[in-house]
């Protein structure tokens, strides 16, 4: 017999098991208890609504033998949810809805001990474009008008938005830098307050999501002057995108998708990948995307992993240029 050292024996054993693994791959994983879906917003927040719709669609279209249960883990712009997920190593029945926030927060916040790098990407689901809107009686018909006005009175015009690392401000920083203009950013914690500020005439412009703006546009109180998207949204076919309007800045999508904790076996990953693939192809989902004006951003696990790395690097650069304190 060959006299193998211990490590070589282990190696042979692993090889043997690996060769058996196709059988493991074919032994399909099926969930046996309700799937816990973690979101980092409270009830009614963006990820929460998406998760609930996913749960609803999965049940309606019979995509899974078990149902989905939403678990709200709010706190710290995603930190609480991420920490919770990091503790669920190897848990095959817990998934989480991640957003761009999850990728950005660890870059600037020293209190975060975990990041999406410690998790397993499963699928990217949607890209949420945005619109740049002004009050309908404002003198700006296009984004160029607004930028010109901003150049004339630097710092006087105002934009309402979320926190300083939110997409709203990132877009603003990019625009200001590429056009050499300057206007103030005022943070409001809730979407309702931001829209009120715009409708009440207290600020001049806002980056708004299509589904938030839709009704106000229909009622005639808001006007859209540009879209932040790769290509024009079906509901706004006569509004130019940033690139079309001549503003050469990278497209910053709001992204949402699914991740799981670390230590998940390959077959489980394929199961969920497949589940969400089938979800993204259902008519219910397609209608939802159309109603909400989302872009179908489905990506499989491997592609998502690549996207996450790219997005994180891009954000790091943008934040540094915007003057935020980047620590990772």
């Amino acid at each position: 017999m060959l006299d193998l050292s211990n490590s070589k024996k282990t190696g042979m054993a692993c090889l043997f098991i690996y060769m058996l693994s196709p059988f493991a791959l074919h032994a399909d994983f099926k969930p046996t208890k309700p799937i816990e879906c973690v979101v980092h917003t409270g009830p009614g927040g963006g990820s929460d609504v998406l998760a609930r719709f996913i749960a609803q669609t999965v049940e309606k279209e019979n995509l899974s033998p078990v149902r989905f249960q939403i678990n709200n883990k709010t706190g710290g712009s995603g930190v609480t949810a991420m920490t919770y997920m990091a503790e669920k190593k190897g848990d095959t029945h817990t998934i989480a809805v991640f957003t761009g926030n999850w990728l950005i927060t660890p870059l600037t916040r020293s209190e975060t001990k975990v990041s999406v790098k410690d998790m397993t990407p499963i699928a990217r689901l949607v890209l949420e474009p945005a619109l740049i809107a002004v009050k309908s009686d404002a003198p700006y018909k296009t984004l160029k008008d607004f930028i010109e006005a901003a150049k004339k009175s630097p710092g006087m015009l105002k934009q309402s938005g979320g926190s300083s690392t939110s997409r709203d401000n990132v877009v603003r920083q990019l625009l200001m830098k590429s056009t050499g203009s300057n206007w103030t950013f005022i943070s409001f914690p809730g979407g309702g307050e931001r829209i009120s500020a715009l409708l009440g005439g207290h600020v001049n412009v806002m980056v708004i999501e299509p589904q938030e703006a839709g009704e106000h546009i229909r009622a005639g109180s808001l006007r859209v002057i540009a879209q932040i998207a790769e290509k024009r949204l079906p509901g706004f076919s006569n509004i130019p995108t940033l690139k079309e309007a001549g503003f050469n800045i990278p497209n910053v999508p709001q992204v949402r998708g699914i991740v799981m904790s670390s230590g998940i076996p390959v077959d489980v990953i394929s199961y969920y990948e497949n589940l969400f693939y089938r979800l993204s192809k259902t008519a219910t989902w397609r209608k939802y995307l159309e109603d909400q004006q989302f872009e179908d951003g489905y990506q499989k696990s491997a592609e998502l992993s690549y996207f996450i790395d790219g997005y994180t690097d891009q954000m790091r650069e943008i934040l540094k240029e915007a003057g935020a304190k980047v620590i990772r």
């Binding site: 300083s164 409708l199 009704e215």
Partner: protein
């Protein structure tokens, strides 16, 4: 005319047997949710959303809204009986409600809370029905400078809640302001006072502080003495269990006060029912003939805040239904419900779905009546809780406090904070620091700082934005009046004494 026909239409929807059933289910659940600390209407509505997918949206909204305003009825129960605020807005009810219970008037307090909630809740619906569109426009003219003035008005309440030592009241308030500033700064993303802990990134939850300081602090203080002295006198017989005519008469202004203040503040997105309760309470004390009695168990001290937090729900529905703008966590989930039902919330929603609006309004009238009928007979039952001996009651309070905190956040860290604030509550009682200003500082601190910074950003540093605008100026003026009121009173008394001395 349009309103009458709309209302008629609404009642024909709301009084359908199935909708009546959903309404009852909603308000009943709401009351239960309100009673249990930690379980809030937002989370409950979220849990029940899937149930509503088979129903027509109007029925679903009738039920979910029932949970929303029903919870405001329940919140006063544990506040009055156990000094445990069931809902964050019930904190103010603890101040006089619990004292009324200690004086043997628990039943009366519960009754006044229910009646005031009914009156104010109905006024809130009236306001929603009659004033919604014009109010929405006015609400839009409210922005950061006006919010700042409103917060200053709230802080001026400290003066009224001070009690004996103004210095201690101010110190308590400053402590509350400090706790409020813990967490991530919205504008610059800096972390303040988080001591490197991820759990503190969001600051300390208000409910944790309130339950710790009010409920636990009280229990620890009572445990100093062993037996006998702290047994609460339980009223016997029906007459003792309900408010007397005199008590109801004393609350006349409070009913009006609570209804109006609550509704107006509810309309403003971002200003919540806790602020409404505090301002209503403060206003009541300011115009009272016996302000020094507030805090010892006066019925108006229960009627005003309880009314305010109920009519606030009517107000909060105004921006939601007329503009599609959610003003609080609960209205945000209602907004999500609209979206999930396929509706399009926004300025045109009422126009496109009139039966939704009128059905809801009519069902709220019905719901408020149901709640009154539901709550009044329960009063004798609840008052019996006070018959329990203290050594049974106190562990129950311990248990409820922990359950309340743990179920809403599943965090042991929050339980530790609860314990810490329990100790603080005890020490404050021992050292004669008033607790209400701390809570006030905590509630207002964040909003006030944000409003100030937003205002100055809007005006590029020009301070005059804070007092030039009419609404802001009016609110600041009222605050000034309130602060000077005690001085006027003292001056008056000094004057009278001077005259008596000379004469």
């Amino acid at each position: 005319m349009e309103i009458l026909s709309g209302l008629f239409n609404g009642f024909s929807i709301a009084l359908q047997p199935l909708n009546l059933l959903w309404c009852f289910a909603g308000v009943f659940l709401g009351t239960v949710v309100g009673i249990m600390p930690g379980l809030g209407p937002a989370a409950t509505i979220a849990m029940l959303l899937p149930l509503t997918f088979g129903m027509p949206p109007t029925s679903g909204l009738i039920m979910l809204a029932g949970i929303y305003y029903g919870a405001k009825y329940g919140g006063s129960t544990t506040a009055i009986l156990l000094n445990v605020p069931g809902e964050s807005a019930s904190v103010v009810t603890c101040l006089d409600g619990y004292q009324m219970a200690r004086n043997g008037r628990a039943g009366a307090a519960l009754g006044i809370a229910a009646i005031s909630s009914f009156v104010a809740g109905t006024v809130g619906v009236l306001g929603l029905m009659l004033l919604a569109p014009p109010l929405a426009k006015i609400a839009l003219s409210f922005s950061s400078p006006e919010y700042f003035a409103l917060m200053i008005l709230g802080l001026a309440m400290v003066v009224l809640l001070a009690g004996d030592s103004m210095i201690k009241a101010l110190l308590a308030m400053l402590f509350g302001l400090w706790i409020a500033s813990m967490g991530i700064d919205l504008f610059t993303d800096a972390s303040r006072f988080t001591f490197g802990s991820a759990e503190l990134l969001d600051g300390i939850d208000f409910v944790v502080v309130a339950i710790g300081i009010f409920a636990l602090g009280e229990v620890f203080a009572n445990m100093e003495m062993q037996g006998g002295a702290s047994l609460l006198p339980v009223p016997k017989g029906m007459r003792e269990l309900l408010p007397t005519m005199a008590e109801l008469k004393a609350c006349r202004f409070a009913f009006f006060n609570g209804s109006v203040v609550g509704f107006i503040i509810g309309v403003l997105p971002g200003a919540g029912s806790t602020i409404a309760s505090f301002i209503s309470y403060g206003l009541e004390k300011a115009v009272s003939k016996h302000p020094e009695k507030f805090g010892t168990g006066v019925p108006e001290g229960v009627a005003a805040p309880e009314g305010a937090n109920n009519s606030e729900t009517g107000g909060a529905l105004v921006p939601l239904l007329t503009l599609g703008i959610p003003g609080s966590g609960t209205t945000a989930i209602l907004l999500a419900a609209f979206v999930l039902w396929g509706l399009r919330p926004g300025p045109l929603m009422i126009q496109d779905n009139p039966e939704l609006f009128w059905g809801l309004v009519a069902s709220m009238y019905v719901g408020n009546v149901m709640l009154l009928i539901l709550n009044l007979p329960l009063i004798p039952l609840f008052a019996q809780i006070l018959k329990l001996r203290e050594y049974i009651l106190y562990p129950i309070i311990f248990g409820i406090s922990i359950v309340g905190i743990y179920t809403s956040s599943s965090s042991f860290f929050d339980c530790w904070m609860l314990s810490l604030f329990g100790l603080l509550g005890y020490l404050m009682r021992r050292l004669d620091y008033p607790t209400a200003p701390l809570i006030l500082g905590l509630v207002l601190g964040d909003s006030m700082e944000r409003a100030l910074r937003q205002s100055l950003m809007m005006s590029q540093g020009d301070l005059s934005i804070l007092y030039h605008r009419p609404i802001a100026a009016t609110l600041l003026f009222i605050s000034l009046l309130l602060v000077c009121l005690p001085l006027f009173r003292n001056f008056n008394q000094w004057r009278i004494r001077a005259i008596e001395d000379n004469g």
